[in-house]
Symmetry: C2
Amino acid sequence: MKNTFIEDILKMDSETEIFLLGWIASKRKYKKVIFIDVIDSTGKIQAIIEKHENNDLFHKVASCKIGDAIRIKGKLMCDKTQKQIVLEEIHVISRNNVHLSPNPYKLSDIFSEKYVNYFMNNRHFYMKHPKFMAVLRARHKMIDSLRDFFKKQGLTEITAPILTQIPLYPENTAFCIDFWGTKVFLTQCVAFYLESAVLSFEKVFNIGPSFRREKSKGRRHLAEYWHVKVELAWANIDDIIRFAEDMIYYLAKQLRQNARSELEVLNVFIDLDKLRPPYPQISYDEALEILERKGKPLEWGRSFGADEEKLLSEEFQTPFWIRGIPKVIEPFPYELDENNPNITKVADLIAPEGFGELLGVAEKIWKYDKLIRKMQEKGIDPKTKKYEWYLNLREFGCVPHSGIGMGVERVLRWLLKLSHVRDTIPFPRTFQRKPYP
Amino acid sequence: MKNTFIEDILKMDSETEIFLLGWIASKRKYKKVIFIDVIDSTGKIQAIIEKHENNDLFHKVASCKIGDAIRIKGKLMCDKTQKQIVLEEIHVISRNNVHLSPNPYKLSDIFSEKYVNYFMNNRHFYMKHPKFMAVLRARHKMIDSLRDFFKKQGLTEITAPILTQIPLYPENTAFCIDFWGTKVFLTQCVAFYLESAVLSFEKVFNIGPSFRREKSKGRRHLAEYWHVKVELAWANIDDIIRFAEDMIYYLAKQLRQNARSELEVLNVFIDLDKLRPPYPQISYDEALEILERKGKPLEWGRSFGADEEKLLSEEFQTPFWIRGIPKVIEPFPYELDENNPNITKVADLIAPEGFGELLGVAEKIWKYDKLIRKMQEKGIDPKTKKYEWYLNLREFGCVPHSGIGMGVERVLRWLLKLSHVRDTIPFPRTFQRKPYP
C-alpha cells in the first residue's frame, strides 16, 4: 500500500529520503539533465537526474514517457523557490501506450465543442485531465456540502427506490424494464416516496440517480442524472423557497471555501455577494411580459425553453424565481393557487447568465378529494391500483408539505460556468449515444 | 413552517405557552380526563384535558383518533417526574381514516414473518412504526458514517453510472432497457468505472443503487439494493482486507455511539469487543474441511449458500474471512493467486451468527495480456467493442489496485440483527413481487 503522497513530501525537510509511487506528467530532456514532473492524486513534484551523476539512470529516465506509472527513490532538495527530488532510482511499473491529443496531463480546453466526441469516447483516459479532475472533485465537494446542509437542518436521508410503477411524467418519457412480468419504470422523481416518509420523519431528502427518456440535445439534459429531492412537512411554497435559497447560498459558500484549488484550475470566481438570499421573484405572467418586450413572445401555458430562460436571465444579476407556473404544464401532485385555479404553487429558480433552471419547488396537494380531482383532470384514473397507496396517504393524518427537486449537474454547471451538463458527471448518458465508456 | 419540535419543548420551562404541530399516537379517556400522546419526528409528549376545565374542548379531544394530525395550544407543566401540556386549544388538521393492525404507532413485532405481505403492501403507512423508523434512522446514520470514514481516509466520491453496456455477471441476471436502440443494463457493480477513476484519484468510492435480476427468495437478496464500492490504487489483497476491517469496525463503533436510541428501540446491543480487527482468515479449502467435518460436504468449486455460511459462522465469534475463492465461481476481472492459478485473490467477509456474507474484496488484474487471457477463459471476446475502454486502461500506465463491494442492507441487517434484508430499506424490490408501493 502506498503510504507517502506528494502532499506529504511537500511538507518534508531537505535531504529526506523519498520513496514515491506516481505517474510522469511531463518531461524536459536536455543534453546533460532531465527534469520530470511526477504526479499523484495529491499534487505534483519535480524530479531531476544529471547525466554525470548516474549515466545508466539518466538513460533509463530518458526512455520514460509521459503517463508511465513509476516508483522512484531519491533525495528531497529544498531551496527558497522550490522542492525537488534528486533521483537515485526509477522503476517503471507500467508503460503508457495510449496516444491522446489533447494531452490529458495538460490544462487544455478539454470542454471545447471541438473535442466533444473525442472526450465522450475517452472519458476513462481524460479522468487524468487537470480540469476534468477539478470538476469531479468540485462535484464531490458540492454533494458533500449538500448533505452537510441537510444534516444541519435535521433532515433524514431516505434512500428511495429507482424501480417504480409510477413515473412522474408520461410513461413514454421514462425508461422501462420488464420486472418478472410487470412493466416497471426507472424513476424520474422520487417525491412520491418521500411524501410518505415526510409524515413520520417530517424533513427528508434523497440524492440519487434519476432518468429521463427525452429526445433532447440541450445543454441541460442528461438521460441519467443525480437528482436531489427534499420534502418538508408543514412547509408551504414560501417556506420551501426560503429553504432552497439558503441551500443554494450554502453550497456556493462552501464550494468557494473548500474548493479553492479546483476553482483556480477552472479559472472560476464565485461571487457570493450576488448570491445572498432572498432572490427576486416574478410571476409567470410577468415573465411573459418581459419576453414580449424583448421581441420573443410566448403563448400563455407554454414552458420556457433554454432561449426564453436566457432572455429572462438577462434581466437579473442573481438567481431569480418564476412563480405560479400554469397547471397545464405541471404534473398532477402540485397544489393550485387559491386565487387562480389555473396556476400552481410551483416556482422555478433560474440562474443568471443564461444557465437556465437550477431547481423547482412545489407545494403538494395534501387533501384526498382535491388530489382525486386533479388526477382526473390530468387523465389519470385515481382507481388505478398503482396510485392507490400514494392517494391513501391523504387519508392517514396527512399534513401540508412541500418539496424541492434539483439536478446536481445543473447547479454544478452553473457554479463552475461550464457550457454543458455532460461535463459535470464522470460518465454521461445522453440521448441516442451508446453508453460507452 | 413548523418551528417548535417536541425535543425543544422538552427543554423548556414550566408555564411556557406551547404551540405544537404533530400527530396523536395514543389516547386514554376517562370520565373526567383525557390524556393524549402527541408525537412528531423528534419525540413524544403527553397532553391532558380535564372535563371541568373546558367541556367543549374535552369533547373535541374525545372525538380525536389515533393518527389524526393536530395543532395544539397549551401550557407546559413540569414536575419532578414528567413534562406535559395542559391543553387549551386543539385543531384537527386532518383525520386518520386508515385502519391498520398491528398499530403503526406501537412497538409491535412488525418484522415478524406473519406480517410480511401486509407490511410490504403498507410500507407507506408503517413508516410511522417506531421500530421501522429506528431502522431507517440507523440506515441514514450508517451511510453517513461510511462517507465520514471515506472522507477521513481521503477517498473521492465518483458517482458512477447506473446504465451500462457491461454488467459484471451474465446478462440474463441483469435488468435491461432499450436505450434508443442499444441494449443497456442496470448496473450490477460499478467497479469498472471506479477502476478508471482510481488511476487519477487513487482512492475512490461510490454508494448507489445496484440491481440483480436473480430468482432468489433468500434473506440476503434484493432486486435493488444500495451498493458500496471502494477502489484503491497500489493496494493488494492484504491492504484491502485491512481497509475493509477498519471500515466495518468504524461503522459499528459509530452506530453504537450515534444511534443509541434506535438500538434501544430495536433492543440490539453491538458488542464492539467482538469486532476489533484483525478478523480470522480461513482459506476456501479450510472452509470445505469444516463443512465436511460438520456433515455438509461441498464439492470444490461451488459457491457457499446461506446454509453453508451459517454452518461456517458457528465456528467464529467474530466476522471472518474466506480467502482464495476458486476462479470458476468469480467474474473475470480478479487477479489469480501466484501459487495456485485455480484460485483468485478474492476474499469474502462473513458475519457471525449466520448473517452470511457482508462484503467481498478483490485484487484486480492490472496487466493487459493477463486480462485478455482471463476474458477469453471466461468466454468473453476481448475484442468486443463495449469492453475496449476497460481493457485499454491496462495500456495507460495502469497500477495494481483492489476494491471492496458491500451491500448496505446486508451490513445493516447484521448490525441490527434483523431477519431479512428487505426490512433495512424503505421500499424493497424483490423477486417477482410488483414494486408496490
